[in-house]
């Protein structure tokens, strides 16, 4: 009965209702679109980060602690084999590969630059965190080759086929140099990778560092959301083994991801709050007006025996009905807004990125939940005051009002 009454009351002044619905729908729609944009960005960010780092990495605790003594941070073949055996037992693991990372100076003519090298097995590339823009990828079986980031290549004016010299300290601490042939130039998800990183074959890295060890194992999983469970299981295994191994997840490794996601979440929160406040005040105004006009009616229904709580419920229901209908319309408004943005070809530059990417909005149904909740919540809260007022009216006073 209260729902029927509420619905009819909502419909009784079409212009006012249309206005409130428009406000709610617009707010919800905007929120839906912003939400979709943030979701799209976060998904992209996540995928990019995982392509760069893998879902997890296993290494000696000293490596994560950035120990000075290089020797202490390495995994000899026994420890690497043990870690591999554990990974083989995890059905969620879709692939893993050993890496040997190093710090060096890259020299080309008289120019030098800091270079973080990553030794990878060209035959077992579990990560695709780069895209070749010039030349070609490292080839299995080849050594003495290097693939560098695009910004670095531009800075040092290097093209595929050129030779560069790496200046490096071996594991034992002695000085070493290597002359390597540049086979390719890549672009990556994060700017720092393009300006300071390079890939070399694992065997070349081992030669430069004068070791037969590796220093980390990167692990790729079937699904992103398996990361936490697999990480938890492996952490226990690693801790129990006493081999001094520790793992890091992509979220811990990708600092860019954390910062950017925090920024997006902040934007989303601020927009949500703004829309909440906007809807709250508009609907408060509308419901208060509607309440003032219906004082006598409230007096009447109370006089003939309607309880206070029912009057309260009636006004609250009116608010919720408005919020719900407005919210639903808002989803369509949001879909429209999103489609508009997606087709507009507007681009933008995410922080830490190399180039502008198209601005897109993910319009998944799941993104509709939060905006509708905000719409309903804000109308509900704004309905509370008129509802309280109405239910607390003294019957005689309400009846005397005109």
């Amino acid at each position: 009965m209260w729902l029927k009454l509420a619905l009819r009351n909502v419909l009784r002044s079409p212009r006012r209702t249309a206005l409130s619905l428009a406000i709610i729908a617009l707010g919800t729609g905007m929120l839906f679109a912003v939400n979709g944009f943030v979701r799209y960005m976060n998904t992209g960010l996540m995928e990019g980060t995982i392509e760069q780092y893998g879902n997890l990495q296993i290494a000696d605790a000293d490596l994560w602690a950035r120990a000075e003594d290089r020797d202490e941070t390495l995994l000899d073949s026994a420890r690497a084999a043990q870690a591999a055996a554990w990974l083989d037992e995890q059905p969620e693991v879709s692939g893993y590969a050993s890496q040997l990372t190093f710090t060096s100076q890259i020299q080309r003519g008289s120019d030098t630059s800091l270079l973080f090298g990553i030794g990878v097995d060209p035959a077992n590339r579990v990560l695709e965190g780069f895209e070749i823009v010039r030349g070609e990828d490292l080839q299995p079986g080849e050594s003495g080759t290097i693939m560098i980031g695009r910004l670095l290549a531009d800075n040092l004016e290097i093209v595929p086929g050129d030779y560069v010299t790496l200046l490096i300290a071996t594991v034992g601490g002695s000085f070493n140099t290597g002359r390597l042939r540049v086979v390719g130039v890549f672009r990556a998800f994060e700017e720092i990778f393009e300006s300071q990183f390079a890939y070399v074959p694992l065997t070349t890295a081992q030669m430069l560092l004068n070791t037969s060890s590796v220093d980390k194992i990167v692990v790729k999983l079937e699904e992103v959301d398996q990361t936490d469970t697999v990480a938890a299981a492996l952490r226990t295994t690693l801790a129990d083994s006493g081999l001094g191994l520790e793992l890091r997840t992509w979220e811990e490794l990708g600092t860019e991801y954390k910062q950017t996601k925090a920024m997006f979440d902040f934007i989303l929160g601020a927009v949500s709050l703004g829309i909440f406040v906007l809807v709250f005040f508009s609907i408060l105004e509308v419901l208060t007006m509607s309440f003032m006009e219906r004082m006598r009616e409230v007096g009447t229904i109370r006089a003939i025996g309607t309880k206070r709580k029912h009057v309260f419920r009636l006004f609250l229901t009116e608010g919720v009905v408005l919020g719900l209908i407005g919210g639903m319309i808002g989803i369509f408004v949001g879909l429209g807004l999103g489609a508009l943005v997606n087709n507009s070809g507007v681009g933008w530059m995410p922080p830490g990125s190399v180039e502008e990417i198209p601005m897109l909005v993910a319009l998944a149904p799941i993104g509709a939940i939060a905006p509708i909740v905000v719409a309903i919540l804000s109308t509900l809260v704004s309905a509370v005051f008129p509802a309280m007022h109405a239910s607390r009216l003294r019957v005689v006073d309400a009846l005397r009002s005109s």
């Binding site: 009454l5 009447t300 309607t306």
Partner: protein, 245 residues
Amino acid sequence: MTIQATAGPVVEARDLVKHYKTGGETVEALRGVDFRVDSGDFVAIHGPSGSGKTTFLNMVGCIDKPTSGELLVYGQSTATMSEGKLATLRRDRIGLVFQVFNLIPVLSTYENIEYPLLLQGVPRRQRQERVRKLIEAVGLEKEHRRRPDKLSGGQRQRVALARALITETHLVLADEPTGNLDTETSKRILGIMQSLNENRDVAFVVVTHDPMVGGYAKRTLEICDGRLSRDDVAMPADRIRTEAS
């Protein structure tokens, strides 16, 4: 659910006093009223504007509390009742009719009359049957789907009357029920009241300016400056006879 007429008086008021405080002034709207309505009574209360008629009816109808004095409705003292209890009492045992009809604008004739039964939680079947019968009794079969704004004043007042009676109460309080109606329509409404009073044993208390109402009542009282001044028992021969229409 039929409420049995109780053996004692339907309403009994002793020394009712009501003061309103507005700003610094106190208005003495009722200055000690003794009053009694028995089952099957039809009381008309006349009085000039501002004499306290509405105030008096509000006390009896339990929608406002007296400053002092005692009020028994169906033998129950209302002084200590909670707001919730009073609402239930109004819902189940008191019918109210207003000068300006006070129907719920978003509900049809049928739904306005049904409303008190919904508050009571009466099952659908029973509601339908009772509302149909009463709509027939007040002659609004053709108008049962219309909303109040599509009804004439007389039709609206018949809806209001039916709404007051749907709970099968034995007490209807009416504040200027003919105040917004022309003479012919007034007669019709009063005629319906009279027949309900006689055939269904419903007690009516009608406060009004309208001298015509007195002709339909069994008793006529005068209220002046917050005091009830005269208590006449109308002779049966004085009463106007109308066919229930």
